[in-house]
Symmetry: C2
Subunit: 386 residues, 2 copies
Amino acid sequence: MKNLTVLGSTGSIGCNTLAVAANQDSAFRIFGLAAGRNVTLLAEQAERFRPEILALEREEDAEAFRRASSFSPSKILFGPEGAAEVAGDTRNDIVVSAITGINGLRPTLAAVESGARVALANKESLVVGGFLLREAASRSGAEIIPVDSEHSAVFQCLAKERAQDVRKVILTASGGPFFRLTPEEMRSKSPEEALNHPRWKMGKKVTIDSATMMNKGLELIEARWLFDLERDQLGILIHPQSIVHSLVEMRDGSVLAQMSLTDMKIPIQYALTFPERIDSGLPSLDLSRIKELEFYDVDLNQFPLVSLAFEALEREQAFSVGLNAANELAVEAYLDKQIDFFQIHEVVTESLASQEQNQNVLTLDDIFAVDREARERTRQLLQQRK
Amino acid sequence: MKNLTVLGSTGSIGCNTLAVAANQDSAFRIFGLAAGRNVTLLAEQAERFRPEILALEREEDAEAFRRASSFSPSKILFGPEGAAEVAGDTRNDIVVSAITGINGLRPTLAAVESGARVALANKESLVVGGFLLREAASRSGAEIIPVDSEHSAVFQCLAKERAQDVRKVILTASGGPFFRLTPEEMRSKSPEEALNHPRWKMGKKVTIDSATMMNKGLELIEARWLFDLERDQLGILIHPQSIVHSLVEMRDGSVLAQMSLTDMKIPIQYALTFPERIDSGLPSLDLSRIKELEFYDVDLNQFPLVSLAFEALEREQAFSVGLNAANELAVEAYLDKQIDFFQIHEVVTESLASQEQNQNVLTLDDIFAVDREARERTRQLLQQRK
């Protein structure tokens, strides 16, 4: 029986994780749950899974939880320190890191430092703090196992292989709702159209990132840190069916791939049970029904944020921190209809152009400082456009 | 430096093996070469690779070799015993078994019994003698690593997975030149049309087997023995591009696949270097140029020999021996224009229907006896049709 803590338990990955754990209730015991402000759902989860420790975003959420729930855990924590405390508790065997955004970094680092297995769904942790997490994992011996379907695919393909035999890792991308459009046609697309993703049901921020393909850009940076790859070892292919989750080309010319139905329970479960696999109860992938798997190169003129992500693979850490922060604010502004679709990348590019790139970014504090500056700068750029 | 012996060195797999070995001449030394009657090519190979031992099919071929070659190996052997002697020499580290047909069985068994790694390209060894080879390998500790692109793909996908986690192995098939035709359209197809294979350049027998899909049927039986699978764990998908060489569905719903360009040097090299991979010098697979990978179910009315192969997965060994023998003669008769395309399966079905199925087939002698009877019976059936 393994102690499992879920950071971001009320989000999509968090709920799927609890569904996987409930399906394997002789293997996993829910030790901790950390959520944001969705007190109602957290109260339901707590009553069902009876964790030792809970963490919420704010003190008032913790109080609301006490009023809403008949179940009393041993501890109810709040604030960034609360999430980090439950994440870093040494009684955890596995921590699923699924808090969205840069807020996920501190608790993820705490989990890695504790030596637990970290099933990582929080992209930003690696994007802004890849170096830090890798160092911490090598000190503590923590395993970091990716939950993103793309990185899970790479991990599954590489599990059997020697690092020096890898020629290239190719992340697949659905291409989002706009990939068959010209840049001019994309410019006028509304948030409503961008949110209509053809394959995956996800949160708003990541759905827009999928339409700009910045999502894939962030995944490139993640893959760099997860698998210790150079820029020329990383590539992207658009694959609209989202069945092949990624490809690994070996130096003998073989290409290994992992495929599955688009159900996040598969990579989540794999991260929990690796190196074993257990029956997921999910139906088989039937390629004869899907019939065609298509693959296209990415047009960088159409998806200029991907170029910035490739650039980040060769730049200092500050560049990735600034890229992530600027993109987050630009996406927000787009969702608020302050800017149009193509201005997302224009704002990000401007913000990065005016960033001091030669800063040392070695600690959590360094990362948060660069992040704050980047957000401030991007906010000003967005103001000027109003 | 590993001692490498190539059985069937003048055939297509043999020549490709020598090309791979020449490309890695610090890793492999050619210890033995066994060939059929192509004395001229064997003499060229012997002069280039200077093996210790040679084997040819007949005594007169051995004499012709002495006259034709300026190079004198330590030993020149001939006959089935000659091939078995070089195959079973305990100085071999790796034996590539690429003699075509049931003639490959005796030397393959000798190699397996010697405890060498056996890179297996000879389908018939496993089809007619799977039980025997598996027992011999478990006694000697020999590794049997498949060279067929399909089985190599499965082997690569399974390399570090646990056997109990496998739900299904799906072999891909190009479908051959006729898979878009109706059975009626196929009936009238000439050997010349059947030999025009869209993807792989192979010998005549295997190219016809590809047009009838019996090739895939034989591979099903091979896979049963190589990977210890039950009938309901084996499937086939038609994949006309021949890029995905096979698929392995795990019980968690993940499907692992291996892809590559259609170049036999890739699986051959893998069988020689496993668990390592080395640079093949081959170009990268570019999926964005191929653009589409298609998958179709097999229509068993169109390819009735595949049904017989599925049946063989549940029947005693005698059934597979009879199936292989009858098919070989029926294909010969088709190539000689004695029967039409659809009569291949009719003759095979009739031959199997009149075979005594409850024979014990445990030894080499048993296998050869059943094989002889099946050939005799099939010959009579073919005579009656004249």
